[in-house]
Every structure is written in structure tokens, then in C-alpha cells.
């Protein structure tokens, strides 16, 4: 009888335990609207990695993960609602995948003591951890992207961009405007000519912009686009026979779905990246075995190995590693959001670590510190091959012009700190 009671008690505890201890990761995804083409693969990758951890390892450090998906439609109002409805569930880290929502959540997450990771998007000056204590944007920022593109062009043009004409086609929003300041600074330094061509949300109408490009004949077109805007731009570039190898997109404008609709004409289009592409990584075998074959893949399960799927998976991997770091620092398995922040700030990604996770050479090695939330900012370049329908890395991850970027970050974050009376968080 006693035995039975004890068993019952144990079962009761075990039944109750999963509800008590889990690591909650909200996924502010968008599977609808004009930006869904990019939102779906990212959300799938993010979800599948956590499913894999649950199925294969029983969670992180023995605590299962729980994904809370909330549809934002890339809309800031819905983003606010999603944030408020998920933060009470013990959310550990927010990754809104929208620069607009990021701007809104920066003060809110700081006040609520929840970290936010805006990987390669959001407010670039959040790289300054002294001002933005709860916002992280490692391993790279837009300004690294802008500088990386210019560095790549410098290498292509024997180090001289004098008189080189560059046109920036950008989404007319906070996201698209981010690189302008950096490009203007670099313009002074390297002497190229910069012209700005904004494209309004959602970006289906770009005839006039491309007419202007046809008239001005820039040597290079850079693009800060997202969602349906990318496909339209690449199609328009093909229509005016702009040489694709001189057309470089930011990392949000370089996925399969962006180039596929233009068919063979998109051959040679280039895009920046801060992580590796393709599915030649051991982790995909695990995902196939534990997630896809088990019927637990997120969404339709058709995105695996795509550029943005890889990026979602990479974001989830960095979050999971930050959880492990936090568990080590605080000695508890079921961490809270404040401890998660400490874990993110002490995060160290090494090649050995990535190899042991089945993702060798997937991204750069880096250490996050209290002062630097932006990572090393290494930027690579990928190119689309329309015949084999694959992206391949044509320029390895390289350093960017931190002298220019660092000054801009200090200036912008300093202005934010002064506006909001923020004291140095690292002292």
C-alpha cells in the first residue's frame, strides 16, 4: 500500500513537473502577409531546432523546451499584443524578426528584464551593451553588412572605389534606412557615389526605381529588401538586363524564394551572409531522424536547408547555447529570463562547440561581453547558381570596418542614452 502511494506520488510529481519546469521560447513569427515568404522558413528552423533538442536530448540541461508561437504578420501592433500575451508565460528571450517590433520592444524588454536577440537586424547601435543592457545583436549588424559589401567591392576593384557608382534600393522603413548612415560615412572614406532609392511597403511596385537605375547605370546595386520586395526587385533587375553579379543584397534579401521566381535570369545574384548556407551539415541528419521522420516538423516541413531555415536554426542554436551558459553560471537548470540575459552576455561560441553540435564552420567563433553585444561582425558573400539552384559561399567571412562602425555605434547609442537617461550598465 505504502509502495503504491509512493508510486502515485512520484507519478503525480512527474505529471506535474513538465508544467512546472520548462524553458519557454516565444516565436513571434509571421506566416501570413507580404513578408511570409521569409517568415515561414525562419520560424520553421527556429521551431525544429528546439523540437530536436527535446526529442534527442530531452531538452536543454534536462529541462524540456516549449515554443510559444504567435503570429505578428510583421505588424507592430500585433507584435505588441504577442509580446504582452507571451511574457507572462516565463518567456526567456524574444526574437521578433522585425526591426519595427524590435524598436518597440527594446525599452519594454529592458523594463521587464527579459533579453532580446535581434540577430542581424533591429537597432544596430544595440551592439553597445553599456546602453542596451537587454538587447543583443550578435554575430553581426546591418552596419557590418554595409561595410562588408563595400569591402567586397573594394577587393573586386583592386582597392579603389573612386568614382564607382552605387545605388541603394531599400525598404522605406527603419529596417531599410539602417545602412544609409554607414554608407555615407564610407562614401567619404572611399570616394564612391551613392544614390538612394526607397521602395515603399510592401514593395510590389518598383518600376520607377528600376527605371532610374537604368538611366543612371550604377556600377553596383545594393539592396536592403525583405519579403515580396526581393522577388520583385530581382525580376525588375532581370527585366532591365542589369548584370546580376553587380547586384548585392543584404542577408535578408538572399534566400531561395527570392531568386527562384526570376528563374535562370537570377543566375549570379549575390547576397551577404553571416552564417553558412546549404545542408552539408551533420545536424540535418539528426533533424531528419528525430523531427521530420517523427512527423514533428514545424509548418509544412518543406523548408529544411533553405538559407532562412538555417538562419532560424542558427538563432535557436545560439539561444540554446546561451541557456547552457546561464545554467552553468547560476547552477540551476530551470533558468529565468534574467539569468538567460547573463547567459547571453557570457556566451562564447567556438568552432569546437559548433562541430560538436553538428554544425561545423556554420558561423563565426565569437565571445559576447557586457560592452559588446554585437559580436565580431564578420560578413561573407554568397552567390546564386540558377542551374543547380544552390547558394554557395564565394567570399569567406571577413572583418568589416569597425573604425567607422564603432564611431557610429557610439554616437547613436550615446544619443539614445542621453534621451532616456540610461547609465552605463557595465560598471
Amino acid at each position: 500500500m505504502k509502495m503504491k502511494l509512493a508510486t502515485m506520488a512520484v507519478t503525480a510529481v512527474m505529471a506535474a513537473a513538465p508544467a512546472m519546469a520548462d524553458l519557454v521560447f516565444p516565436s513571434l513569427s509571421y506566416r501570413t502577409g507580404p513578408y511570409a515568404a521569409g517568415g515561414i522558413p525562419f520560424a520553421d528552423g527556429y521551431a525544429d531546432y528546439f523540437t530536436l533538442l527535446n526529442e534527442r536530448d530531452g531538452g536543454i540541461g534536462g529541462v524540456p523546451t516549449r515554443l510559444l508561437e504567435c503570429e505578428t504578420g510583421y505588424n507592430t501592433e500585433k507584435g505588441v499584443e504577442c509580446y504582452e500575451s507571451t511574457k507572462g508565460e516565463g518567456a526567456l528571450v524574444y526574437q521578433p524578426l522585425s526591426t519595427g517590433i524590435t524598436y518597440q520592444l527594446i525599452p519594454k524588454t529592458t523594463a521587464d528584464n527579459i533579453p532580446m536577440h535581434t540577430m542581424g537586424y533591429g537597432r544596430t547601435s544595440a551592439a553597445n551593451g553599456e546602453v542596451f543592457s537587454h538587447t543583443f545583436n550578435y554575430p553581426g549588424t546591418y552596419w557590418n553588412g554595409a561595410s562588408g559589401a563595400i569591402n567586397y567591392l573594394l577587393a573586386e576593384n583592386d582597392g579603389d572605389l573612386n568614382g564607382h557608382k552605387i545605388a541603394l534600393v531599400y525598404h522605406n522603413s527603419a529596417y531599410g534606412k539602417e545602412p544609409i548612415r554607414t554608407l555615407e560615412e564610407l562614401q567619404k572614406k572611399h570616394g564612391f557615389e551613392l544614390s538612394l532609392l526607397p521602395v515603399d511597403h510592401p514593395g510590389q511596385e518598383q518600376k520607377s526605381q528600376w527605371l532610374q537605375i537604368r538611366r543612371e547605370k550604377p556600377d553596383t546595386v545594393l539592396m536592403w529588401g525583405w519579403g515580396v520586395m526581393n522577388q520583385v526587385a530581382i525580376q525588375e533587375a532581370a527585366n532591365i538586363r542589369f548584370p546580376m553579379e553587380n547586384f548585392i543584397g543584404i542577408w535578408w534579401s538572399g534566400a531561395e524564394h527570392d531568386v527562384l521566381s526570376a528563374g535562370d535570369k537570377a543566375n549570379g545574384y549575390k547576397a551577404l551572409t553571416f552564417h553558412n548556407v546549404g545542408r552539408d551539415f551533420p545536424i540535418f541528419a539528426d533533424i531528419q531522424k528525430h523531427v521530420v521522420d517523427a512527423g514533428k516538423a514545424a509548418g509544412a516541413g518543406d523548408q529544411i536547408g533553405n538559407v532562412l531555415y538555417n538562419r532560424g536554426m542558427y538563432a535557436a542554436m545560439l539561444a540554446a547555447e546561451a541557456v547552457k551558459t546561464a545554467q552553468e553560471i547560476h547552477g540551476v537548470a530551470d533558468i529565468n529570463a534574467g539569468q538567460m540575459r547573463d547567459g547571453m552576455e557570457a556566451l562564447s561560441i567556438t568552432e569546437d562547440k559548433m562541430a560538436s553540435l553538428g554544425m561545423p564552420n556554420f558561423g563565426p567563433s565569437f565571445d559576447v561581453s557586457c560592452e559588446n553585444h554585437g559580436g565580431p561582425g564578420l560578413v561573407g558573400v554568397t552567390q546564386w547558381d540558377a542551374a543547380s539552384q544552390t547558394w554557395s559561399l564565394i567570399s569567406d567571412f571577413a572583418e568589416t570596418d569597425m573604425e567607422v562602425i564603432g564611431a557610429l555605434i557610439a554616437e547613436d547609442s550615446g544619443a539614445y542614452a542621453a534621451e532616456n537617461n540610461i547609465e552605463n550598465a557595465c560598471n
Binding site: T76, E84, I106, S173
Partner: protein, 358 residues
């Protein structure tokens, strides 16, 4: 049985003309006010405030503003999003330019600025009517959004083109910025809504409102009986702009905190507020509230039912939401073209006679 005048004696004109002539309505009104001011602030949490109550209060103000223009004066406007943007950017410039002045006055001043801009765009209404006026206000929508994107002075030359609301306090309690308590923001918006509704109600049942309605019903006839169309139309644009501007300022400063004009105050916002007054009821203050509540609550309710209770995938629920909201709008327009306000009037009639309808 309910809503009967019996036993409710009026002894003067003021009593005869009051907003709620029936006792039970009057009591209900004071109960709702007391509940909103004295009970809700103690129950409210961040989720209720930011997901439901703040958008409801703010959209109600916008709907009242637009209802004065479209519902009472009959001047179709598709520029609401642009005018809300004027309120938001005016509020931002006041907040950052004159931080020593209380935010309450900033919001009022933003309403004034918007009223001025709205009048400027309302001037063509003297010459053009109906669909043509709708197109003219549509131009205002696109022009204003373009302006706030294009001229860096409006967003204080920030690199991203975003405007962010700094922390401002009322009686020492922050009402904007991240450290705002839910109840403070709620009460601040509620005060503006109650004041707006009171002013709108008293304007619309007074001489100004009668002039607007005369213009709406037949402008030539109105002119013949001595209504000056210039003054009537321009005053409708001014009052409407004032309320829409206040709602835009609150929308930016209290609700979102950070705004990017193209995304937040785009053409969709104009249509949303227009749907609110059409569904709620044109030419009715209550209709403005009902329409705002309907379009703010419905998506949240559908999401809670679909995702949280039934566990459906988020994208299917989001798509279903569009289908259901669209379907309901069509259904409403067919079954009750005068909106929720008319539905409420019919219900009251039925309740009067219930349970002996003959």
C-alpha cells in the same frame, strides 16, 4: 418592461433634452463610468491594457472624430491614417521640444495642429463631393506619410526614421515610456476618451451638429435655409481633425511607444477606422464605441479561441481571422446597414415591449 419612460417626469427643457432621457440608461451610464474609472484600474494588467483596452480607447477617439466628418457631415475621408500621423508627429515634436510642459497639453496641442492640417485638406470639399472628395483625402493620406518619411526634421534626424516616445509623467506617474504602469496609461486615455465623447455629443446635438447634418442630408437645401456650407464643412473638418489628432498622439505616445509612419499610419489605418464607423453606425457616438470595440476585440477573441484553446496553427488562425472579419463586415452591411448602433436601438425597442410585444 425595460427602457420605459413611465414615472420619469421631466419638469424643464434641460431634463427633456438630456443625452439619456430614460432612467435606466442614465443609471447604466453612470455605472459604466464608475466601473471604468474606479474598478478597472485596480484589475488591469499589462496584457489587458496593451492588447485590448488601450487600442479600444484610442480607436474610439479616432472613430468619434471620423464619425463627425463622415457620419454627421457626410464628407467622406480616407485620410484618417495620415491625420493620425500628424497627431503622432506633432506630439513627438512637442514632447522632445518642450519637455517641461505636461504631456496632457502636448496631446491637446497635437489635436490642434491636426485640426489645422485637416482644415487645409478639407478646403477642396467646398468644390468637390462624394467619391472625388474621397480621392482628395486619399491624396492627403499618401502625401502626409511621404512627408513624414521624407523630411528628417519631423523625426529629429534619427538614423532609422523612427520616433520614440520618451518618458513623461502626469502627477509624478509615468504615462509614456517603458516604466508606465498599465493603469496610468489606461486612465490617461480614458480621460481623453470621456472628454472627447462629451464634447462630440454636445456638439452634434447642438447647432453645429444640426448644420452638419443639414449639409449631409442635402447641401443645397441647407444653404437655402441659411446654413453657411463653408463654415459647416470647415468646422466639421476641424473638429474631426482635432479628435483624430488626439488619437494619433495617444496611439504613438502611450500605446506603441515607437512609430514608423509608413507601417503604422498607412492606408490600412484609414480603412480600419472607416470600417469601425460603418460597422458601428454612421452618425452615432455609441456606434463609434461599438465599432472600435468590435474591430479591436474580434481578432483577439478569434486568436484566443483558435490558438490558445483549440491549438490550431497560428497561420491558419490568422488567415481564418481575415475571412471571418471580412465575412462579418459583408454580413453586417447586408443585414444591418445602419450598424451596431441601430442594432442596439432595435434591441431597446424590443426590450420596452418585452414580454408582451402586442
Amino acid at each position: 418592461m425595460f427602457y420605459r419612460e413611465a414615472g420619469d417626469f421631466k419638469t424643464n427643457y434641460a431634463a427633456d433634452n438630456q443625452t439619456f432621457p430614460i432612467k435606466i440608461d442614465r443609471k447604466g451610464y453612470y455605472v459604466v463610468l464608475a466601473f471604468a474609472f474606479l474598478v478597472v484600474p485596480f484589475l488591469i494588467n499589462d496584457y489587458w491594457a496593451n492588447a485590448i483596452l488601450l487600442p479600444f480607447l484610442i480607436y474610439s477617439i479616432a472613430a468619434i472624430g471620423l464619425n463627425i466628418l463622415v457620419g454627421y457631415c457626410g464628407q467622406v475621408s480616407l485620410g484618417t491614417g495620415g491625420f493620425m500621423a500628424v497627431g503622432a508627429y506633432a506630439c513627438y515634436k512637442f514632447m522632445t521640444g518642450f519637455p517641461e510642459i505636461n504631456i496632457f497639453f502636448h496631446v491637446l496641442l497635437s489635436g490642434g495642429v491636426t485640426a489645422f492640417v485637416c482644415v487645409m485638406f478639407g478646403l477642396p470639399s467646398l468644390r468637390i463631393k462624394g467619391f472625388y472628395l474621397a480621392v482628395a483625402t486619399l491624396a492627403a493620406q499618401f502625401f502626409l506619410v511621404w512627408l513624414f518619411n521624407r523630411v528628417p526634421w519631423f523625426y529629429n534626424y534619427s538614423a532609422s526614421g523612427q520616433i520614440n516616445a520618451p518618458e513623461r509623467t502626469v502627477f509624478g506617474f509615468p504615462v509614456t515610456g517603458p516604466n508606465t504602469e498599465a493603469w496610468a496609461a489606461y486612465l490617461f486615455c480614458l480621460v481623453f476618451l470621456v472628454l472627447s465623447a462629451l464634447i462630440a455629443r454636445n456638439l452634434t446635438r447642438g447647432m453645429a451638429g444640426r448644420k452638419w447634418m443639414a449639409i449631409r442630408d442635402m447641401d443645397i437645401a441647407a444653404e437655402i435655409i441659411g446654413v453657411n456650407p463653408l463654415k459647416a464643412k470647415i468646422s466639421a473638418f476641424a473638429v474631426s481633425g482635432f479628435f483624430v489628432g488626439i488619437s494619433g498622439a495617444l496611439f504613438f505616445a502611450l500605446y506603441l511607444g515607437a512609430v514608423e509612419v509608413g507601417e503604422v499610419f498607412g492606408i490600412n489605418k484609414s480603412f480600419l477606422v472607416l470600417f469601425m464607423i460603418i460597422i458601428g453606425g454612421l452618425g452615432s457616438i455609441f456606434g463609434s464605441f461599438a465599432g472600435a470595440a468590435f474591430l479591436v476585440l474580434l481578432p483577439v477573441v478569434l486568436k484566443v479561441v483558435g490558438v490558445d484553446m483549440l491549438g490550431w496553427p497560428t497561420d491558419i488562425v490568422a488567415h481564418l481571422q481575415l475571412v471571418i472579419v471580412g465575412g462579418l463586415i459583408v454580413l453586417f452591411l447586408i443585414l444591418e446597414p445602419h450598424g451596431l448602433a441601430q442594432l442596439w436601438r432595435v434591441t431597446k425597442q424590443k426590450l420596452r415591449l418585452w414580454p408582451f410585444p402586442h
